[in-house]
């Protein structure tokens, strides 16, 4: 099942084939980490990103079974479109939205179980904060400032450039180098431990 292309899994589900259940689970498993990252990027909140995994996974399962995925080769487009619509709705609600209400829960209890399994499978826990701060401290001062201003103060490259007397292009280069150095440092510490 792991080696089958997405399109084959979509066809098995749509045809209610013997492999349907396993195919559904595999599709959820494959897309869950990507949906979570989309949610994290747009909602900036881990819990809401995990809610999004459940919402989109449930919608995907229902669409698959109803044969509403027009092009099985591009199931990813359906998932992305559902992510975009769901994020818009979550934002419009301007409050933490429950993944499903009680009535829906009865109807799609199985789907929810699958979606929750998919959510658990995203399993990206990020580095220990102490390691992250240690690695950050190892950067040179200018790189530290750029990282701080970008991700903690939410300044644009142009604003940072004006503050540090650099060009925006310089800021972008220094920023991605700093992130690469942080990533390497964290990987080395993880290997060492």
């Amino acid at each position: 099942m792991h080696a089958e292309p997405d399109a084959q899994l979509v066809r098995w589900v749509a045809a209610d084939a013997a492999e349907r259940r396993a195919a559904e689970a595999e599709l959820c498993r494959r897309f869950a980490p990507r949906i979570r990252l989309y949610g994290l990027r747009h909602l900036r909140d881990e819990e809401r990103a995990r809610d999004l995994v459940q919402i989109v996974s449930c919608a995907l399962l229902q669409a698959l079974r109803a044969g509403r995925i027009d092009d099985p080769e591009r199931v990813d487009r359906y998932v992305l479109g559902t992510c975009r619509n769901s994020v818009r709705r979550l934002r419009a609600a301007d409050a933490r939205v429950r993944p499903v209400d009680d009535e829906e829960l009865e109807v799609i209890a199985d789907d929810l179980a699958l979606a929750q399994t998919a959510t658990a499978a995203t399993g990206e826990e990020g580095p220990p904060m102490s390691a992250l701060f240690r690695c950050l401290d190892g950067l040179d001062l200018r790189a530290k400032k750029i990282v701080h201003l970008t991700f903690q103060v939410e300044r644009s490259a142009e604003q940072i450039a004006a503050e540090l007397a650099l060009t925006a292009g310089n800021v972008r280069v220094l920023r991605h180098r700093a992130l690469r150095a942080l990533r390497r440092c964290l990987d080395e510490r993880a290997r060492a431990s």
């Binding site: 494959r30 897309f31 980490p33 990507r34 990252l37 989309y38 994290l40 990027r41 900036r44 881990e46 591009r74 990813d76 487009r77 998932v79 992305l80 992510c83 990206e124 990020g126 580095p127 904060m129 102490s130 390691a131 992250l132 701060f133 240690r134 950050l136 401290d137 001062l141 530290k144 400032k145 990282v147 701080h148 970008t150 991700f151 903690q152 103060v153 939410e154 644009s156 490259a157 503050e163 972008r172 280069v173 920023r175 991605h176 992130l179 690469r180 942080l182 990533r183 964290l186």
Partner: protein, 182 residues
């Protein structure tokens, strides 16, 4: 292990994505690729695993409004008032979420800008420098947030604060902190 991507997304593009620094068209195209490509999505996750914890982390200096927000969330906050010239030896454990050094004794009522620098004692290596630091004008203090995650950083630090008044005058205060993480 994801199959390799024939057109992998560059690291700098992924960093720009997580820094919200792509235009709408670039972002849409990238997201379409990431949703279709497990390999590039995994690499994007490696960037996010650095940027998003940083985004959630407390900044080293808090504005009074941020401190009020933390209190309203029920975080356990312990304050440690320090006067200029003082050597403070706080014990910081996991029984508090934020250990707040209140760097006091400043005249900030007419301050236009405050700069902050923290150095490692002994080496004088500059660890943090903030040219336009948030400050508590009413309380005449800077609010330096410390927590157990800093335990791996140098424990003994010297902090310099310079305030620049609207009359052009500059005043300076120095604080020494020897952290004891328990």
């Amino acid at each position: 292990m994801s199959p390799p991507c024939p057109t992998p997304v560059a690291w700098e593009t992924l960093v720009a994505y997580w820094a919200a620094d792509l235009d709408a068209g670039e972002q849409d195209a990238l997201e379409a690729h990431l949703m279709a490509c497990p390999s590039c999505s995994a690499e994007s996750g490696r960037v996010a695993a650095v940027t998003e914890p940083l985004r959630r982390a407390l900044p080293p200096l808090l504005a009074p409004g941020q401190l009020a927000q933390l209190r309203s969330k029920g975080l356990r906050i312990r304050e440690n008032p320090i006067a200029p010239g003082e050597v403070s030896r706080p014990r910081i454990g996991t029984d508090v979420d934020v250990f707040l050094h209140r760097l006091g004794g400043l005249e900030l009522a007419r301050a236009q800008r405050v700069s902050f620098e923290m150095r490692e004692e002994g080496t004088d290596r500059v660890m943090i420098a903030i040219d336009d630091a948030p400050f508590d004008r009413a309380g005449n203090a800077l609010l330096l947030a410390c927590h157990a995650h800093y335990a791996e950083l140098p424990h003994d630090v010297i902090v310099d604060v310079r305030s620049h008044g609207d009359d052009g005058r500059e005043s300076r205060a120095t604080y020494t902190i020897h952290h004891v993480f328990v």
